[in-house]
Symmetry: D2
Subunit: 113 residues, 4 copies
């Protein structure tokens, strides 16, 4: 069963206000937890660096890289989820959302590769 | 630039009417072209069958299977696109679409693997 | 622990003899089970065809396509395994196998996408 | 055409000598270039961290994460290549290499997901 709008509130990215020339400004929900998650991935990449420098076994390095890719997929899914529930939903309600949906599909296509 | 709603019309799956116990009924847009595309993939799988039976070189079989997977991804993206532009958009406009968006994200997660 | 050469024997593709102009001839191990596996996938693709023709729900079709892709990955891994244990290993023992290893890596690169 | 053994020499990981309790010791070929490549990826992950902290647009973050995954695939393929041409080839020549090939296939299976 889907959560009610209220329960979802914390997982929706904040309204896309213009951000100078730079694109839209979007505050990610649970930003602190998300940045910690990415910081952990940064640490894992540093770990791979050490493994190469310390002449660790190829297969162990490859296993570690696969783990990093899975962790990145987890982050992508979290951001995609708040984007779909936030920016895309609002766009559909505001103007039909065709542009937002096209953009979402392009992102998914890239994520599948 | 995104197409206007009108131009998109042919690429949106038809309204999700109840289909007995069996789930929703959804007519895919450009159904004829889509079924032809899937029939071609069915033929490619038959081709792999022949290659194995005729003792063709492993690498050629593997290359053919990769081509089939790409073709399936193409079909998935087409169906996902009409689903997002049709069922999901309508659900957002009708009731906020939380359930539809959750379901969409689950599908994308499966497609990424 | 790895199986001994003897136990592996049935899972190694048969020696790559020239096959006219057409490329090498390679008999897959457990050929009957392998062709049955591919025939089942062919049937699953036919199932997707029926789902589209019968206006089944988009998400159910997408789920089925993901299942087909997983099944194809299973077949690829099986063929890759007999190829690595058969053709590639023999090439390494015969002439160092550089060409066979390069080709293997190209195949893996394609399979990763 | 495949390169001769000699030309390949620089791209083959160095002989797998025992490394205490810790596993095998394997010096990656072109180690300096490889570590630079991984350091660049570490920087890209730090870039994603900044994007989230600076409330950058979801889609731009997702695009950046896809780029990181591609870069990691590039590193994996490079390490897999030197592993196959080095450790695995030597294992095949020394003892038939069944264990090394099994391990290689497990790694490829993980990389495909």
């Amino acid at each position: 069963m889907a959560l009610s709008h209220k329960e979802h509130a914390a997982d929706v990215c904040e309204s896309c206000t213009p951000l100078d020339d730079d694109g839209r400004r979007v505050e990610q929900p649970r930003k602190k937890a998300l940045t910690n998650r990415v910081r952990r991935i940064e640490g894992q990449v540093g770990g791979v660096l050490n493994m190469i420098e310390n002449d660790r076994y190829c297969v162990d390095i490859l296993t570690q890289i696969s783990a990093i890719k899975s962790a990145l997929d987890g982050v992508s899914i979290q951001i995609l989820s708040s984007h779909a529930n936030g920016c895309v939903r609002r766009a559909v309600q505001d103007d039909g959302g065709e542009e937002a949906i096209d953009e979402l599909l392009q992102v998914v296509r890239r994520m599948m590769r």
